[in-house]
């Protein structure tokens, strides 16, 4: 672009079910009760950043199930990653997980994602959004960060750092699985709170409809607490992304990016960090199986 006087910007034309601004989140504040937040599928978010020359500090759109449309007010380079969805610019299909050029005045539209849950629209330069504690992420639990994105919102885009040379053209990535998903778990600090006859593994669970960025609720025959802890209370203790908590209801909860910093129910297992991004792409109704050494 020449001149450089006009601010690079885009305007949101439509959102699907939910569009949030996300970046790497707010690690380091858990001791004062602030959740890490940040992109739910970190790998997909970081891939989008790499494709357009951003860093993980640059904010992008996290799009639930597709449906986002934005009008580029100026020329922009973007990439869509995460849950695969049809992408078009000015009505013409363009590449997924690839840098895409969007001319001034053109509308970029994400169709509905047939599988997976969250897609990322990353704009070269990053979205200029209000930062709270160093991050533009919306924390749906505490309400820190910007409100959900709405049609009519205008975002200024910072100048791109992309040099042009050495950029990735297309990233071959595996799409999130649509059927049964296997998740590797490791032992949690309160594994002994789970009744020995009541196994978390070796069976499938259904992702509950009440799942969100805070956590995934698993439906299935409930698990029981061990006899020696029944009727007792656990003192609240720290929570991590991927912690599998077992409330007295017996329905496990797997925590995601907006998890509370502490919780009072036992964490019986923890999803392996290599599988955390898979969690963020699970759809309500989808089946998952937890296992060690999957």
């Amino acid at each position: 672009m020449t001149g450089g006087a006009a601010a690079r910007a885009l305007t949101v034309v439509a959102t699907g079910p939910l569009v949030l601004v996300q970046d790497r989140g707010r690690p380091g504040y858990a001791d004062v009760g602030v959740s890490p937040s940040g992109a739910a599928d970190r790998g997909a978010f970081e891939l989008g950043a790499r494709l357009v020359g951003n860093t993980d500090a640059d904010a992008a759109f996290e799009v639930l199930l597709g449906g986002l449309a934005v009008r580029a007010e100026t020329e922009l380079t973007v990439a869509v990653t995460g849950a695969p969805c049809p992408v078009e610019v000015a009505g013409r299909p363009v590449g997924f997980a690839a840098p895409v050029h969007c001319g001034a005045g053109q509308v970029l539209r994400l169709g509905m994602a047939p599988q997976g849950l969250r897609s990322y629209l990353t704009v070269a330069g990053g979205l200029d959004s209000v930062r709270v504690l160093g991050s533009a992420s919306t924390d749906t639990l505490s309400g820190l960060g910007p409100a959900p994105v709405e049609a009519g919102d205008r975002f200024v885009v910072a100048p791109s750092r992309q040099t042009g040379a050495g950029a990735v053209d297309l990233a071959p990535v595996a799409a999130p699985a649509s059927g049964l998903v296997d998740l590797e778990i490791t032992v949690g600090p309160r594994a002994d709170w789970l009744d020995a006859s009541s196994s978390l593994t070796g069976r499938s669970w259904v992702v509950g409809a009440d799942s969100d960025r805070v956590g995934i609720r698993l439906d299935g025959p409930p698990l029981a607490w061990a006899d020696h802890v029944r009727g007792t209370e656990l003192a609240s203790e720290g929570i991590v992304r991927g912690a599998v908590q077992l409330p007295p209801s017996g329905r496990p909860i797997i925590f995601l990016a907006d998890h509370p910093t502490t919780g009072g129910y036992p964490v019986v297992a923890v999803v392996a960090s290599a599988c955390l991004d898979r969690l963020a792409q699970l759809r309500p109704g989808q089946s998952v199986r937890l296992g060690s050494g999957v």
Partner: protein
């Protein structure tokens, strides 16, 4: 400070504080001291850490990808067993900040608290004001600090029916804790007063007014 270290996935460890003997509870506020000791340790311990989260009787440490948890576990055990005999933990505790909170003792649950405790309302507020509180840990919402070290006569149950909205600045009691609601939120604690202090402001250099390990005094302000 003796601790047991429990596994917590491939990027975290959970330190559980061990009571000094049978029938003895972990000292309130001990987890904040352990956190402070870890934070003050050398880079060998802290280089890979992301968050250090004290809770009632545990401290969670989370790490950056690639951190050697086996080595970290050994380093933490060495650090905390050294702190037991040597300077470490206690020295850090001696540097705690003192935060003074102005409070109007005008809470709607003062009469209930008086009934639960067998004290008069004046005795409740006097005991709350005279207590040497300390932030044991934070949680629930950003900036909410669980204060311990209060007059043991102030121990009261939560309300049987939680309120759907507790106003920001409400000063409350539950169990052995006192706390201040940083912003309007649902809550089941007994409300005894209110403060104009801003407990959490993300745009301040130190967003949370109260941090683990801080000492806190309440000072009655005229209504």
């Amino acid at each position: 400070m003796p601790v047991t270290i429990l596994p917590y996935g491939d990027r975290a460890l959970l330190l559980e504080l061990v009571a000094a003997g049978v029938g003895v509870d972990v000292r309130a506020g001990a987890s904040a001291q352990v956190s402070a000791a870890i934070r003050a340790a050398g880079p060998r311990v802290t280089a890979g850490l992301v968050d250090i989260v004290p809770a009632e009787r545990t401290v969670l440490v989370t790490t950056r990808p690639g951190t050697d948890l086996v080595a970290l576990r050994a380093d933490l055990l060495a650090l905390l067993s050294a702190g037991e005999a040597g300077p470490g933990v206690d020295t850090v505790a001696g540097e705690a900040r003192l935060v003074t909170i102005p409070v109007r003792y005008d809470g709607p649950d003062l009469d209930d608290v008086a009934r639960h405790t067998g004290l008069t309302v004046a005795e409740v507020t006097a005991a709350h004001e005279a207590s040497h509180w300390e932030v044991a840990f934070c949680g629930f919402v950003p900036g909410f600090a669980y204060l311990v070290g209060g007059d043991p006569r102030l121990e009261v149950p939560r309300r049987s029916t939680p309120r759907t909205v507790v106003p920001a600045g409400a000063v409350a009691l539950a169990g052995r804790y006192s706390g201040i609601y940083p912003r309007p939120s649902p809550g089941g604690w007994q409300l005894i007063g209110s403060t104009s202090a801003v407990l959490f402001d993300p745009h301040r250099e130190s967003p949370a007014l109260l941090r683990p390990g801080d000492r806190v005094r309440f000072v009655a302000s005229p209504t």
